[in-house]
Symmetry: D2
Subunit: 342 residues, 4 copies
């Protein structure tokens, strides 16, 4: 059994991790922490949890958690995540960080977009970007895994095969993404109040969202060159899911068969990508509650414009599900352990 | 008083017309019809309607309606709309058709996209496309007004000034639109059941939506050349509103000031377009229940990509509100009569 | 023109008041205040407001507002409302208070339920409870109007005729009420976050809601004796509306005709109560956006149990609409002025 | 392995059964049927189903299903269910019927409420009412299990201990229930369209709902006398869950400790009832996606009125979850097999 800890267990991603690890065959919840000053049973977060006196959420105490776990999931605000990760990393633990702190390779870029100094520059170079579809081999031996952002997961899975196979013009990338409200986290905000969201829809942080450099870094790696995208996120009046529409120019000679082949070859063996083929587009209902990323595309012959659409559950493939997928890869467990819904 | 009739009063657009004309100073509801075999009071459709025994919804009888009205709004399925329009047009009435039957200038194009023969080809040439922001002068004397589709209204208002001023590359146009469920009409369908829509989101009719040739026709007129767009509509889990994101390449020399000036000059006098300026994007909540189209834009310097976002209420500016705006223009009434919410 | 002020213009009830008074023929918005440190145009609250430089929301300054208004609407937290009301009342203004501060006749009861000292006991005796269906004559000359709570409005309108006519057992009253989320106000709370409300439903403050003594006071006045009700409010996953189911035992000899007659006679002339008769129950959609209270009932012969159901829009008949109705009564304007939707 | 069939696999309850049985350790999906004329893979209903060529939904053929299964779940309209049940029962199969056909012991009562003749009167006497909390022993040997209705499940679990222990006045029972939209099934109806449900709420079939005699039969059995309840169902603007508020008069001497003890003793060993104690009321979010029924209560000392509130997921404890719970009891499997979410 891999002894697992969750630091920051009360947020949306923490609760999803509790549920996944609670039914995991080879993992065991051995430390759960929160900012609450007093311990409380995990049942307050997940009513269907067993009445196990061991499963208690406690105030964070580094040495207690360190002694109790082999692997730790960090569901913390940025900078706090970096500081905490450094400690667990130095203590020899497997660290899976769900914050943004280790996603960008460049501390300078991080500081420009997040507006704060990086709190653990010295280990930034050790972090592996935890997108299994791009980085599985590196994840197998990583002790510091930077779990991808939700928007980057949806966008990069849709673009990676096309850039790798040089099927699209890397200067043409437009990303129109729509996210459910859990993406904004649990922190109180006027923007996530029911009456502000219900029956409403709007774009926000147009070309200024902090996930943009993360997307560009991943795409740049796939393309072997710098990439500047257009990125417009929107807030949907619903809880879970990210739908990403990608608008692209194909390169000369790249037709629908080439595109379908690129997706098929890259993702044919992937346990959590379902490529649906040409003209088959996913709905968010298809992926909610699962770790799948569904992908469809359409190529317009009149103007050579390619549309790729991906769908994920932002809390699973876009956060906690992918985190456990990464843990499974790192620990040598079956990749879908804890993540199968059937 | 202009005596007005609504043929097809029980659908979403019919009910909105009843509400608008009910509070209109110069219009009078003098005929309301539906497919119900028996007459029924308008209160069944609009609970706040007065207990006026004259305001009754009756089965359609052409000569009765003809004798009762000066202007008629048709809220009918296509082809049935064309046949009915032809009769009222020949009887000398002002006809405002909310169906798609008179929007496309080419009967051949209509037949290709709608899959049926056009039922009134001989008067198709008389129809004026009822988008006041493009066609106000022609509307003033039109007896057959083709009220625009909801998606075309949101897209064309965002693109018209840019194409007219030659600020964008006409081959670069991507339209990512998101509509509330009223856009699908009241006909029973598994796709509009609560449990199919709630907490769900998806693209549909990707590059195959019947509003696409209408958009291309209007844009082609503005640009003075043929235009082929990419058009992806989505269904939002909410009732009302269309948000349209437009992704465009600007032409050399077209900067933010030129773009702002184009919008400002085209729409500065428009009673129902609110141009918000650079970096100011609308939410659907801003326009619901109003006849406004709100417009914002952002120009990305890194890659010359322009984002324009428009928001309308699909049942008002996208249908019944615009229909009354057209009636007001045609009849010489103040353009905002019946449409002011303040 | 009656010069009107709104103190606390940025909450849900303040914004509704702005919209109603903005289209009122005989009222004029002459002072709007908020806690924001800087003035801002009313358009930020109500996008369809005219660009009138006079209509600005300013920080509260008593003497400025006093000089500008004839009547003032207070949309303030309790105790702050009482203190502010006292000043305007002493300055000779018509005060319409939307808080709970002047609803309970007994300062002791107020202090027991609200947990604070009453801040203006000396004028509590001057307050008139602003439920026109019970108190119209007193409202005509009132200078301090305590606008009823939303739950009490829905419950009391359904019970008043039955108690007055002695048709029901006053010890049998069960009130099962369901409210939209705007009822909770705009203050940030984990309970009104989208993800806490959407797809959820629950009872809260069971028999402990602060509107309970207000309901009992109004019913006691109608019945001429003390009344103890059962009151269970619930939160609906939607924005607006309160549905109230009343479960009652009828007295001997009270049949459906007597009940129908009681409602008909009490409310036949009421501009904002629509009695629908036996077996006809309202939906919240029927009253949203209106100042109506719809009422239906059903009498079960098997067990003499009576069910009365009422529906209101909690922000209109349950708050701001009723406040303007009270103002219209007090000022001698037509009672539906500003409140007609047709 | 118990070989299981689902007749009527495409409705909401059929799909839930597929999901539960798909993860069941001792059950195997060996026949799935629908009205579709052609076979189709189960993945069309449940995207996360494995690509197993055996798991196909086929047109119904009695002898094929009979040969393939040991137990059969019927998710059919009433009367069709009775006819089909009779065949499988005679063929010696375990029949679990999710329709209303075998719930009422009296064919006359059935015919009065459902308005059709009973299609299998001769086996009606063999049916066992499948509410484990009341009938576990009888279920262990039943070959025809009438799975309870969703409303009756929520109401009866809240009332059974109180009636059995004679703690309440059986003539005082008021049931105010609120259901999500899946309760109405998948059949197209104007009442379940998104725009009819969203932002709306209303009571329906007041004292005329067909679940009323089923509730009265179960309560009558618990009380040992005839019982006439008041029953008001409402439709919530959400997908899943039934919240039931029960308003009751307690008998002399029945205080909160007696009530808590009755619930504790009746349900202390129940795997799927969570009694939360006095003043602790459930939210629908607590039970969605689970087979639990949560129960809380409050006793008002002022007037001896008792409030009990129960919450279930209408598709699980209110339908398919309870059906599998019944199958587990009948087959001797652990009762929570397939139904554990942790």
């Amino acid at each position: 059994m891999l002894r697992c800890g969750i630091v920051g267990a009360t947020g949306y991603t923490g609760i999803e991790l509790i549920k996944i690890l609670g039914r995991h065959t080879y993992a065991q919840l051995s430390a759960l922490t929160s900012r609450q000053p007093k311990p409380f049973p995990v049942r307050q977060l997940v009513p269907e949890a067993p009445e196990d006196p061991d499963v208690v959420v406690r105030p964070f105490n580094f040495s207690e958690v360190r002694d109790a776990v082999d692997a730790v999931f960090l569901c913390l605000p940025h900078t706090e995540a970096a500081r905490t990760a450094a400690k667990f990393y130095r203590a020899g633990k497997i660290v899976i960080d769900l914050s943004a702190d280790f996603r960008l390779k460049s501390a300078r870029l991080y500081e420009a977009w997040y507006g704060v100094r990086h709190a653990a520059k010295n280990i930034l170079g050790r972090a592996v970007y935890g997108l299994p579809e791009m980085n599985r081999e590196a994840i197998r031996s990583a002790d510091l895994i930077a779990n991808p952002g939700c928007y980057p997961t949806g966008a990069v899975i849709g673009l990676y095969p096309l850039l790798k196979r040089r099927l699209i013009d890397p200067d043409s990338i437009v990303i129109d993404a729509k996210s459910g409200v859990t993406g904004a986290g649990k922190r109180l905000s006027p923007h996530t109040q029911f009456c502000a969201v219900d029956e409403n829809f709007y774009a926000y942080k147009v070309n200024r969202h902090q996930h943009m450099p993360e997307i560009e870094q991943a795409l740049g790696k796939a393309a072997g060159r710098r990439i500047a995208v257009t990125f417009v996120p929107h807030l949907l009046p619903m809880k879970r899911g990210i739908m990403t529409a990608l608008y692209l120019k194909v390169r000369k000679g790249a037709g629908a068969p080439q595109i379908a082949r690129a997706f098929g070859e890259c993702y044919g063996e992937e346990p959590f990508v379902r490529f649906r083929g040409e003209g088959q587009f996913p709905a968010l209902a298809d992926v909610q509650g699962t770790n799948f990323c569904d992908v469809g595309f359409s190529l317009e012959k009149r103007n050579g414009r390619l549309i790729v659409i991906t769908a994920i559950d932002n809390l699973l493939k876009g956060a906690s599900g992918q985190a456990v997928q990464n843990m499974n890869i790192r620990a040598g467990f079956p990749e879908h352990e804890g993540l199968k819904v059937w």
